[in-house]
Amino acid sequence: MAHVAVVRRSMRPEEWTDLRFVWLQRGIVSDQEEVTGLTIRDARQISENAYEYTDGEARPLNRGDLYFTPDGTAFIRGNARIPERFRGKNVYLALKTAAEMIVRVNGRLVGGIDPNRERILLNPYIDRDELEIEIEAYNRSKPDDERNPAALSKKGCRQVFDGLYLETIRDNVQSLVYDYILLMDIAHSEYFNEDYRKFLFAELSRALDKIDFDTWEGVDEAAAYVQKVIYDNTDFRGSGDVALVGHSHLDIAYYWRRIHAVQKNARTILIQLRLMDKYPEFKYTHTQAYTYETLEKYYPELFAELKEKIAKGQFEPVGAMYVEPDCNIPAAESLIRQFLYGQHYFRRAFGKTLDNAWLPDVFGNSWIMPQILKKSGVDYFVSNKMSTWNDTNRFPHNNFIWKGIDGSTVYACVPPTHFITWNMPSQIQENWEAYQDKEAGGQTLSMYGYGDGGSGVTEEMLELARRFSKVSVMPKTEMTGGAAFLHKNLKDNPKLATWDGELYLEMHRGTFTTKSNLKKMNRALEFKLREAELRASLAAREGAAYPAEELRECWKKLLLNQFHDILPGSHIHPVYEDAMADYREIDERLEKLLTAEQQDTWFNSLPWARTGLTFIPDETGEVCRDGQKGYWSRPGIAGLASGKAERLQGVPGWLKTAELPGGQLRIETPLYQLTLNPDGSFASWTMEGREWVRSGCGFNRLHLWADNPGVYDAWDILPNYKDVEAKLTVAEPVRQARADDVSAEFTVTFTTEKSSWRMIIRLFADSRAAEVEHIVDWHEKHRLAKVNFGPDLLTRELVCDTSAGFIRRPLTKNTSWEQARFETCHHKWFDMSETGAGIAVINSGKYGVGLEGDEVSLSLLRSTIRPDITSDMGNHDIRYLILPHAGDAVTAEINRQAFAYNVPLRKGKITVPEAWRQAVTESGLWLQSLKLAEDGGMLVARLSEQDGMRRQLRCPGRVRLLNMLEDIQGEAEQIDVRPFEIVTIGIPME
């Protein structure tokens, strides 16, 4: 029997209700007066508070005109008078737009207009009928998160001006519209009971039957019917307990530059303050000290108002950090500074130390964080993506305890639904149903409010919240604050489960690699800041002025660029240009601080002797590395001491080479025999009879993979990336390029249709290490360059540096959790070892590492096109050191070698008090930072245990024990340091 599809052509009863709901919304406005005589002046924002006018003088702006230009800010001005007929009524200023607007009337900030709100109540903020209107409007380019189709259809660089109006509204219609938004959402949502939805549709229709849509009579009767028949009905029951926390996520840069975030932030805060005026029960949470700092600087009037609302407890600063940084790539000291500068700001501005970190949008969280949180006064951690975006496994908890690499624990919450919701019943119900700790975790957290300049909570969300308790099928809800939710449900909760490990996000794995130059500069500047602070601190001890403000500004600029859509590379091209300009500026400023007078003395800032091969920049040097001329030295300078760095005297005749059939090159040194394939991969590497390269695997083998993750291009690497390998032609096979008595270089040149790639393999007369440098002119699209290492080792784990200790990751693919971690983040090194021997690869600015069963791959470059079609195009210089070793990563002191590889030796004759020098160098701890305290009263030294063992710091006198905020916690002379612990001590200046 043939199947006959039944097409219903007449209107369903539900559609009849939907249609009349649209009509009902048209009845909100009762009277309207167009504001005419407006002018507009187009501008482009060029800094946080400066604009250049792009299209001449102000011109008239009339309804139907096109307005806005690409990347434009428009200043709209006009005068109006409130009509006599509006007297005694609430008067609104209304405009439908896809742009983001801050509105001043008679000089006072009255509110904001954007795609999610089109009307501002004027009465509380004006004292006369004559209105002088000033609108600062930024043309919104955010590609997602609006739910209003009408606004979406208006979106674009050139918009049609729909007119500016003074309006009065029918309050009873508006109220009934809110009832219908609430109840229609339930009626249409499959998260709710089917019988109740059927009941709702029927009764909502009957209520609308009472309204005359021409005269608007019957609205009050309809509202009374809804109250009596729907709200008062308790035959249907729901369950659940959901905490509602108002929040607006703000990307400081993404599809906009950071200069635009200043205005986005100000408008978001303004709108929330205006809502608080009207809804005293409304509480709102806002993150990032940087956003408060910019508000204070550029909108002082608004900031003063904000302080009042904070003091009243309505507006709640959350997230103790300076910005919401990426939490994979920044090193431990950077994360600590995020808290230090964040918390100190909140203390100065509001007298508060925040006890939570609030990072809903970051792409996974390093295992080093719990300790840093705890020691920065933060007991609670909020994130989100691993519970909502994981592509393979469902993260098993929402409210839990997170245990860090050193054993520190914090309370953690990763809510079960997205951090941007609009407080609809279906979203709240979905949250409850997805919540995995119903029996143990107390309430579940639902954040509501638009993000990124969508400007947070709306009046509609608050009106809905006032009605939630009237709907019997909804979970119980509580409007609360961020800290209040965390304290109520997590604090001292004995039922919470513990997650011991990193909070890996099974998505966005490409962000460890995208925009390679940002990562390289970030790494270099993290170490350069350390060097500058350390030297300045030691100089200050001897009476020199400490450049506190200069160093703080450099730090803050670096921290700002660690924002989670800047450093990870997920942004438009102008954001990249800004970041690189910032990096160059930081570099120049630090270089000035670091310039030393001594021309022939070098200061070793490592807390151990620098005995390894060290590259010394020198214009007369015969080696060219990373674009610099220089020579190789083994300085032998003791830790935290100064000395000479002479050119290494080598071994004449140490190198023997022979060409083999098939283009291979056999190399013999006093320490090993190495056979290189024509493409520079290692065919064999033997030392004292031991082979390091597994037969049949690539080792130092360069691959170009087709990399087509889709819409989340800059963010993601998919598990199938190895399905297609792109052609990489060996243009010039491996050959010896240069050699002297210390080192030799062998080069290979590759080409594709668009790119050229030179690999330099650098070998040394007296070292087992091989350094590889890749000099790339990169013009690919959708390609991922990786170099693979298949060592002849029996190991099932990869040991990865985290910057504050190491994490062991399984190389096996037995479980879906292991399979999902095919690309992870590491810092300076990874190591594969069997008992007694291993190989480490130490890098100078790479983070992505692929776990491929028996092989490991270091991710070098990507070439994504969204959001930036030029991403990673151009020149790159990438270096790593391959280091076969006896023992494991700890006994081979890989950490020390990795620090030495990343911290350049710089000139300077600097004296560290001998007793202190000995205490630090003998402790075996990494001197992570030495600085002057923020209050200038003492030296602050931070030392970290990197090898997972217990150590002791025996100080030459009593020191203050500090937390990471530099608060005094106690005193001691001898400090027992636990595995992976970071300790901070205060040393008197004298």
Binding site: R44, T54, D55, L66, T69, P70, D71, G72, N139, S141, P143, S153, G156, C157, R158, Y255, W256, R257, I572, H573, P574, N708, G710, V711, D713, I865, R866, P867, I869
Partner: protein
């Protein structure tokens, strides 16, 4: 002249909204441009093309008709 104006003056502004414009050719008064990024799927790109023509007229005194070629990335090419 027009190429330089597009690359140095207009393109940075369009990039500010996640878009991308490239000069292709000028034949007579027919100016051909390639649009990528967000521009490639913009529903009101014609308004932007008209703006480009108006800006060229205003700043360079030259009348052009803009023809835009959209180059959508594969993931939007449905």
């Amino acid at each position: 002249m027009i190429r330089d104006y597009i690359e140095k003056t207009l393109a940075p502004r369009i990039q500010g909204d996640g878009g991308w414009v490239e000069y292709v050719s000028l034949e007579g008064d027919k100016l051909t441009l390639v649009f990528r990024g967000e521009c490639s799927k913009c529903e009101i790109l014609d308004r932007c093309e008209n703006w480009i023509a108006a800006k060229i007229q205003e700043d360079l005194g030259q009348t052009v008709q803009v023809t835009g070629i959209r180059k959508k990335p594969f993931f939007w090419d449905k």
